[in-house]
Assembly symmetry: C2
Amino acid sequence: MNILPTPQQLRYLLALADHGHFGRAAAACAVTQSTLSAGIIALERQLDAALLERSQAKRPIFTPLGLEVLARARVALASLAAVTETVAAARDPLTGPLRLGVIPTIGPFLLPRLMPALRHAFPRLKLWLREDQTEHLVAALESGRLDVLLLALPCACGQAASLPVATDPFLAALPEGHRLAALDSVPVAALAAEPLLLLEDGHCLREHALDACGLPKSMGTVGEGFAATSLHTLVQMVAGGLGVTLLPRLAVAGGVLAGSGVVVRPLRPASGSAPPGRTLALAWRDRSPRAPEFRSLAPAIAAAIGGG
Amino acid sequence: MNILPTPQQLRYLLALADHGHFGRAAAACAVTQSTLSAGIIALERQLDAALLERSQAKRPIFTPLGLEVLARARVALASLAAVTETVAAARDPLTGPLRLGVIPTIGPFLLPRLMPALRHAFPRLKLWLREDQTEHLVAALESGRLDVLLLALPCACGQAASLPVATDPFLAALPEGHRLAALDSVPVAALAAEPLLLLEDGHCLREHALDACGLPKSMGTVGEGFAATSLHTLVQMVAGGLGVTLLPRLAVAGGVLAGSGVVVRPLRPASGSAPPGRTLALAWRDRSPRAPEFRSLAPAIAAAIGGG
DNA sequence: CTGTTTCCATCGAAGGTTTCGATGAACATC
DNA sequence: GATGTTCATCGAAACCTTCGATGGAAACAG
């Protein structure tokens, strides 16, 4: 019962899965091919199970059981690393590498302000960035490829712990001279009656905007081919008179309008409703040893947003 | 960055935490005291952190950081063991030790039938039993002291995965000669108007019964001191004329009435409501490597309940 | 068909790590 | 202050991992 695989063996297995080649996997582990080969054979013997189908010619193929073991091995090595991380994080909070994922409707507008602030506040933090849509970020977070996310709630962020850092109200974005632009604030209902342009599917802002307007999720954009791929292109489409849209205040403060001629107006919510907007939040694996660090990142980010 | 603790070191640490004594911990690990001592010192040196306060006289004390490391170490060793378990479970489903937790309102009535059935269906399964209230079982499940639970839904079973195995309707239990006993079936409302006896707090059946009667959770029993500690004592109290109660059909089939003179009648739900009852379910850690095994346990249990 | 190349498994030897038993030092108890 | 308990330290022995070399199988080219 109590013969555990050695971490070495699991590392060899992971490397083999990543490289699909004994020789290259061995090189990646900085051992010789014979060592890696023997290590994996020993693992298979200990477990008394075939994890691989080998062949001289083709890349080795993992058996179904091998794939399961592989997944467990990743978890096991990660939780072993978590022991070390716990100590490192306790001794030296907010230093070392930190992999931050951020959604495209936040990143370009906040990072130019946030990064210098973080560099100043935590000079020993090495921040790696990845910009992607919520769904991909959450997957990367859960599989350990990212440490923290900066995204917009509400979202399906699974088992992650999250902490709101700011609210980000939506503004009505209108072409110059649009009749609604004459108003001080635009009622939500009036905006919803206009041709509404949106980001393409997969951007959480699309759903948040539809929700803010009280429209169903399935609603398409005007002309299916014209869903925008970024807020910048969306603004250009509004400037071109194709329709109107909602923009997060953060993006406007971040300069998304950039001389496009598009004007923004505050939204007036339907009476009794909350002002339409989204909540920016930090998220992390709730079992991460660095959770306390991440929590203490929130004020710095809130300051960067507020100070815009 | 990439120097991980060895599983050995973590085992030594766990043993020390369990025994509070280097010598005894070493014995438990089947190594000498010097080996264990050196192992833990090496771990502290590698992590570059004090995990223990040592003293010749008193048992060693874990530092706060030491306690955190300890918790991580347990997780790490468990996930290492999960690799092995994955293989063992795939090769030999439903063999070996299985630690089953069961709530007191199921156990005494189902196990006498269930155990022989399981022994017959899975002769190589070594079933360890623990009877306790839902809350304690769930805690034991999550900390790895139990593998599977047999409990009643709805309940707060946290992150556990669960699978319903049977519905267990409630029956009205009345003293012999009670006027409601003259009816073929007792309306819920009529029962709720009687003095209602319940199990003491902590038993999920208490809340399920109150819920079935449409009564608030805070409702006390008739005479605070008289909350019953088991279904058997509850039946005796009903027999003694102190009031009426609800019994799960499973318990009645399991012989809880046992010549007490108490009679049971089906409950007639308020029109439009579902028949009052509870759902019996299996639950397990959703990441357990043995999850497929546990799932395949459900039919056997359902059969044991149905065949009552 | 044959020589060449690529790939993975096997083997003995070298090197490193872990473990043991003995010993030493600190502390409490009597 | 004598004694017993507890944990750290040390050198030697056992153990395990790794290496480089070698072998055999499969694809490929000529």
